[in-house]
């Protein structure tokens, strides 16, 4: 309870409670004004990540190249696994890169608030900055992976088509969706560390049902139609397929998948923003 003399002063001079969170619109505007801070924080992170290695940020390129090389060697050359897929190496690399991006970003966002504990305790800023910087850092890495994927696709005989121009759109939809997921997970992660123990299991299950290394259409042909639809339109499979649709002539998806891509992105980002905002007071 406010004592009467204090209440008078507060009202007369229009003082504002420091623990009050601004309305959502203003909160988002505050965050937008910190966009340069978000970028700089993401850049500092990438520098730090590779600061002790000789190749430095070159690892951002070398790591996906090495990964792609191994998949190419094992599945393309040695095993020759086809499973009804024409260009399996490109199919697999696209799946692995797209899913790894989602997996690493979500994992990182779970700890983005506890990890920045010192910053949160020293400076006042909209905490939305932290999961967004985490997502931005991962997107930068992902763009390099996608460049490697394009090389692999061309090397394995995919032609350059007009669909390649849609790749930025596919990337944008996936990034927006993932940013939304990160906001939800970041709030959970701020409350307790248990989520970091559970996440790997969820993510592994998700990986298996998202058609990272097999074709959902071929795999579910012996099950009921609805299982196939459910798997195909789960966001994991949707965004992987959109990437494949862009760079692989041998994979074409219906425009329903593109619509699903827009749907999941809009849904998760708007839900994530509101959900994260509601927890703002609990992050300090």
């Amino acid at each position: 309870m406010t004592t009467s003399s204090n209440a008078e002063i507060i009202e007369q001079f229009g003082l504002v409670s420091v623990s009050k969170t601004p309305p959502l619109r203003e909160y988002l505007k505050d965050t937008w004004q910190r966009i340069d801070f978000i970028k700089e924080l993401a850049n500092a992170r990438s520098t730090q990540q590779y600061s002790d290695s000789l190749l430095g940020r070159l690892w951002q390129l070398v790591t996906p190249l090495l990964n792609a090389g191994i998949y190419f060697l094992i599945f393309g050359v040695l095993l020759g696994t086809r499973k009804g897929i024409e260009n399996y190496p490109a199919f697999l690399v696209a799946g692995v890169f797209a899913f790894n991006f989602m997996q690493t970003t979500i994992t990182a966002s779970a700890s983005c608030i506890p990890k920045n504990d010192k910053l949160v305790k020293a400076i006042h800023f909209p905490k939305l900055v932290l999961p967004l910087a985490t997502a931005l850092n991962a997107v930068q890495q992902y763009v390099i992976s996608l460049a490697v994927l394009m090389v692999i696709a061309l090397a394995t005989g995919e032609p350059l088509t007009l669909m390649w121009l849609a790749l930025p759109a596919a990337l944008l939809l996936q990034a927006v969706f993932i940013a939304g997921v990160c906001l939800v997970v970041a709030r959970w992660g701020a409350r307790s560390k248990d989520i970091t123990q559970l996440l790997p299991f969820f993510l592994r299950t998700w990986r298996y049902v998202s058609g990272v290394f097999f074709s959902i259409t071929v795999f579910t042909s012996k099950f009921s139609h609805w299982i196939g639809v459910a798997l195909k339109y789960n966001p994991g499979a949707v965004y992987i397929d959109l990437i494949r649709d862009c760079v692989m002539n041998t994979v074409t998806v219906s425009y329903y998948v593109w619509i699903a891509g827009v749907f999941w992105a809009v849904l998760l980002l708007s839900f994530g923003l509101v959900y994260f905002y509601r927890g703002e007071r609990t992050y300090v």
């Binding site: 204090n6 623990s19 520098t47 600061s51 305790k121």
Partner: protein, 253 residues
Amino acid sequence: MSRPTVVIDDVHIHYRVVLGAGIGSAAGALRSMVSGSKPSQVVKKVHAVKGVSLVAYEGDIIGLVGRNGSGKSSLLRSIAGLQQPSQGDVYTSSRASLLGVGAALNKSITGNRNITLGGLAMGMTRSQIEELRPSIVEFAGIGEFIDMPMGTYSSGMQARLRFAIAAARQHEILLVDEALSTGDTEFRRRSQAKIREMASHAGTVFLVAHGHNMIREVCTRAVWMEKGQVVLQGNTQEVLDAYEADMEEQPKR
């Protein structure tokens, strides 16, 4: 009477401290789950600030004194909105800023990039930062090291850069915690002069310092805290004399 800028209204602050988490074994945790007894984890509540009320006006420079653990820093953080009071609230005329951006800086990037990062963290724009960059570099006095990763600096150089960045901006309500003025004697003198200069420009200043000389010199009022409560507040000389007398009587209260 001048305009009030900060109203601290019956603020209580509790910390939840988890004692012994992770000490018990998995088997023990399972046993307690099965038997339905309380888990071995002990959560202790620490009552750091116990009902502090205070009104600060424009032009006030308020010194907070008291022994370690008296709740000064917690109170300061609650004024900045960095610590949620468990009861009561703090009202301000504009966002109060705690002087210190050390936490925002990154040791693997250069001093120059840290100036950008720290400035952005404090809410400055890129053009404001560029305007202030030369004076920050000069005040930090670290020469060509400014283009080297901050991790390569000596601890004194790091402290100087941290302070120079934090002090670059003008604040209407400024909160200063003692730990800031580290470094050699010469730099300590310069940083104290800088704090005094900032205080003269700022509307209201809260200053936590162990060095009472600084408080005697710059503060218009002083508040003595003990175990989360205000023991005495008012004229700087009187409060400090009473506190120092008490310290001599009971060095550890």
